[in-house]
Symmetry: C2
Subunit: 307 residues, 2 copies
């Protein structure tokens, strides 16, 4: 069961130096979710062979153009290519109004259901879940209402202890019951205690996405201990004044958050176009939080299941 | 004084096969004008080193996304890069409403004046002129209100006959007066008749842009004799039924228009994504109108001044 993040766009504000505005694909169990959708995201999807038709949910952090100007084009392309599956978009208002107005002006009638679910930027909320994933939005601190997203694996099934299970005669339902943490009676009438024949489940994996935000320690409880954190680092530390003015973060801000939240690994991104090369941003981040990587377009960051 | 068209995007509907949605830059006398602005146009401008800050007028043919979804991003980028010059956008309504809503949602205040001028798709209109250019919009036939654009050089100045002018003693004002078609008295008191010392002006050059449109002979009077015509050829002739349904043109439709209007040269574009290679489209067009070329992204089509 894969758990990974592919970077489609890593730059802030405008496309420059071969970098593009923000977009990512988070995939769990072969199911992709799009996070933000800057202009040209659909072209990046083609470049990087993203299976865009499998995307049924899109999470938009906020309504600055570099995070959603590519959305209306993607919605239109889905329609032209014959999509019929429902598409759900989580975002601050008034995104529905913006998209509807453009579809109306173009005389477009979508051949698939398009649903908008409004996020709110004042408290953490469970906004989506399926059998193997929950997604929470949580407030960030920016110039317009903005949320981060926490993607957390649901992993309730215990693991079978092959040796301990040998004496028993089990059908698949019994296996499933044991994995769910229930004691059962096997086909021969033996009582089988789940604790004796299974290991605890693997720890659920988690990914937190934080772009755009000023330094905002209030997010720490929400992202505590995540396996992977994406945190914006628009600026180097020497541009802290500019970061504060624009409500963005520096490398050191992001590293401090990562340290305080005990995250295991961090991706940095949303780089200002003033930086042509990015190594200094990475080195400065790593000087405070070692396990950091640059968001490189086309690159995939995987979280492996433990034990 | 240059007169040329650079292709930024040549595909219809969606980006595919390395081709992008419609956008062109028409330049006269070093002054560029943007025609249509599909998603990713600002990235194409960077790729092809277009001097985007010199663009003060943008002409949008219609409100299908592949002709304008890149506009809001360009407007935002202009602002981020410190533009102060007024930008004027000619387009069908309700483009102003669409752009304003997005700027409002992003909390953006533009640092330059943004003006929208509504075009109308029921008759030819002079929508813009300066000292050396006039631009008319004229109706096309498509599923939503759509106009073509006719760019016509103003070239009123006559050309000096170097031999005939030799006996006279002239200052620069006198030269200018003669070029404007006025008789003058030279510094020695000689009467100089402009007809004796000048040739007529070069014929004004012209470019007509027609995308998107069904076969629509009503445009012929508007584009009669132009030096350069861009006419869409979304489909090959064998897909005429589909062309009629979607109100697009085939290669043969475009060639017929070019022939009837006696245009000198034609660029074809807005290719359906069903065509991976474009040579068949070109050959079929040329079988009916020889002086045709494919719109190739990054390529510039020049019209030289005659005599």
């Amino acid at each position: 069961m894969n758990f990974e993040v592919k970077i489609l766009g890593c730059n802030s504000a405008i496309a420059q130096h071969g970098r593009h505005p923000t977009a990512q694909v988070f995939t769990i169990n072969e199911k992709p979710f799009l996070i933000d959708c800057g202009e040209g995201t659909q072209m990046r999807m083609t470049d990087f062979k993203v299976k865009r038709f499998k995307i049924d949910q899109i999470f938009i952090s906020h309504l600055h153009g570099d995070h959603y100007y590519g959305l209306v084009g993607l919605i239109t392309t889905f329609n032209l290519l014959g999509r019929t599956n429902k598409l759900t978009i989580f975002s601050p208002t008034p995104l529905k109004q913006i998209i509807d107005l453009q579809l109306l002006a173009g005389g477009a009638t979508l051949n698939y259901p398009l649903e908008f679910i409004a996020t709110q930027a004042n408290e953490i909320e469970l906004i989506y879940e399926n059998d193997f994933l929950s997604v929470h939005s949580f407030p960030l601190k920016h110039r317009v209402p903005t949320t981060g997203f926490l993607f957390k694996e649901k992993n309730k099934l215990r693991k079978i202890n092959g040796e301990a299970i040998k004496p028993f005669s089990l059908d698949s339902n019994m296996f499933q019951n044991l994995r769910e943490g229930n004691d059962i009676i096997d086909k021969l009438g033996n009582i089988v205690k789940y604790e004796n024949v299974t290991y605890p489940p693997s720890p659920p994996r988690s990914y937190a996405y934080c772009s755009d935000t000023a330094y905002f320690p209030e997010i720490i409880p929400h992202i505590q201990g995540v396996d992977l954190l994406y945190h914006e680092t628009t600026f180097m530390a020497d541009a802290e004044k500019r970061a504060i003015e624009t409500m963005h973060s520096t490398t050191i801000n992001a590293a401090n958050i990562a340290n305080q939240a005990n995250v295991k690994r961090m991706i940095i991104g949303h780089f200002s176009s003033k930086y042509i090369q990015l190594n200094d941003l990475l080195n400065e981040t790593r000087s405070h939080f070692a396990n950091a990587n640059l968001a490189v377009e086309g690159e995939t960051f995987r979280v492996e299941r433990q034990n």
